[in-house]
């Protein structure tokens, strides 16, 4: 029983790997589905923005409020903006945003492609002379890879504004001083790796959502399972990517 579960996991991983290889093979071949790509960008970017913005704001505010007592204990209240901004930009906002996107985008793609699969729309596309892999998978994965960083940048901005409000709940820090303090401490080494990481988050979320949807079986029941397992796997992979990214950044001393 146990061995079959392990085997299933390994088979799934192998299939996912082949799916990724196919993505890279087909993704860069000509005849790009530009308009579908833009449409997917809209769905992944704009439609997820409100959720991401609210979460980013709350996280920025809450992290600041929660960090305040311990910073105060060390007498380092004046460091609060720079410390909070570094942890927000480096880690918290990218991961929280990626998790939300894994939930929203991963399940959306999984369910959409899953239902297209069971209602034979994917076959219909192939018969209609459109490569469904390019039309459905490549556009969505690229859209997620492009939109995740942008979402994270906007979320960063909103989270920092939340942090500004959070700081001003206990102390008085002018907006100018706040921005000065955060940009004093932030470096390219904080911002750029987190954006690079976001591209991989987007890739993982898009690819896993598409993989699960594209290989849906067992009718409508399979659609639900595809959406569900897409979210679970995407969240899991987001954390693994985060771990790997942290270690790579550490190896190359990107601090």
């Amino acid at each position: 029983m146990k061995s079959t579960a392990v085997r299933l996991f390994l088979v799934e991983t192998g299939n996912l790997y082949r799916f990724a290889v196919r993505f890279f093979r087909e993704g860069f071949k000509p005849h790009y589905e530009i308009s579908e790509f833009i449409r997917q960008c809209f769905y992944i970017g704009n439609r997820t923005l409100p959720l991401v913005a609210i979460t980013g704001f709350i996280i920025g505010l809450v992290i600041t409020i929660q960090s305040h007592p311990s910073m105060e204990a060390f007498g380092a209240e004046s460091w609060l903006p720079s410390v909070v901004s570094v942890s927000l930009v480096r880690e918290i906002v990218p991961v929280i945003t990626a998790l939300i996107c894994a939930g929203k985008i991963g399940s959306g793609i999984g369910a959409e492609l899953g239902s297209m699969k069971v209602t034979e729309q994917i076959d219909a596309m192939e018969v209609s002379g459109t490569n469904p892999f390019k039309y459905l998978v490549v556009t969505r994965v690229f859209a997620a890879m492009l939109m995740l960083p942008l979402l994270i940048i906007l979320s960063d901005t909103i989270a920092l504004y939340g942090a500004y409000l959070g700081v001003n709940m206990k102390q008085v820090v002018s907006f100018h001083l706040f921005t000065n303090q955060i940009f004093e401490k932030l470096t390219f080494g904080d911002v750029l790796p987190s954006i690079a990481k976001a591209v991989f988050f987007g890739f993982a979320i898009g690819l896993i959502g598409c993989y699960k949807g594209y290989h849906t079986k067992n009718g409508t029941q399979g659609v639900g399972m595809a959406a569900n397992s897409a979210v679970v796997a995407a969240i899991f992979v987001v954390f693994i990517i985060d771990l790997v990214a942290a270690q790579i950044a550490d190896i190359f001393h990107i601090t």
Partner: protein, 249 residues
């Protein structure tokens, strides 16, 4: 039309087609010959490999052994672009219609025309869409979404989408399944009309006897993965073979 098809050239010729899923041999050396202008109905139980057969013809599934010829060319040897060219001449009506939920009727119909090698103007596209919709009698639905349509309308739209490239052969996968008997009859009649209008040949997969009666020139009984019997509706419905009789009871 219903007789004398023997002299016409065959557009689809299947020899010794075998296809298995694991240990389950679905098709076991099937032979089939579709003449020009002929409507062949494939009858068989669920899971007997009827859908597999037409999916092999259109190239959605690879066959294990045997050969399929469409217009005299071997499907298994097709390159992707050859396959794509063949698919403009062979239409496929899916059992579940397979209309794209996120697109309007117009976009659904335009979809087969977006092949990059088809160079046509916007005006020509509009004309083709209108013509196809008119031929299924639903010109007014052009800007509706598929979710706003009834089951029968969806089937007609799906048929219109199949017709838009004016294929020579149409493969119908259970065209009347899930429809009420009246609508099913309408669809069946529409299929015959289309066949006359565009002079197409068809392979129809069905177990709806009304549909079979209306549309078929010839029936093939698909049992145990082979062509068990063949004949017109009248011939087969009179058959004394137990395995054929159970379809017509």
């Amino acid at each position: 039309m219903r007789t004398g098809t023997k002299d016409l050239p065959s557009v689809i010729c299947i020899e010794g087609l075998k296809k298995s899923f694991g240990k389950n041999n679905v098709l076991n050396g099937l032979n089939l010959d579709l003449k020009e202008g002929e409507n062949v109905v494939v009858l068989g139980k669920s899971g007997s490999g009827k859908s597999v057969l037409i999916k092999c013809i259109i190239g959605l599934m690879d066959l294990d052994s045997g050969n399929i010829q469409v217009f005299g060319e071997d499907v298994p040897r097709f390159s992707p672009s050859d396959l794509d060219k063949m698919r403009t001449k062979v239409g496929f009506l899916f059992q579940s219609n397979a209309l794209y939920d996120s697109m309007t009727v117009r976009e659904n119909l335009e979809f087969p025309l977006r092949r990059h090698w088809i160079k046509i103007t916007k005006k020509e596209i509009d004309d083709m869409v209108t013509e196809a919709l008119t031929s299924v009698g639903l010109a007014e639905t052009i800007d509706m979404m598929p979710s706003e349509l009834s089951g029968g309308m969806k089937k007609r739209i799906a048929l219109a989408r199949t017709l838009i490239l004016k294929p020579k052969i149409i493969l119908y996968d259970e065209p009347t399944t899930g429809l009420d008997p009246i609508t099913a009859k309408e669809i069946s009649k529409l299929m015959v009309e289309i066949q006359k209008k565009y002079n197409t040949s068809s392979i129809i997969i069905s177990h709806d006897l009304n549909c079979v009666k209306i549309t078929s020139n010839r029936i093939i009984m698909l049992i145990d993965g082979i062509c068990y019997a063949t004949g017109t509706y009248a011939e087969l419905s009179m058959s004394t073979d137990e395995r054929i009789k159970q379809f017509f009871d």
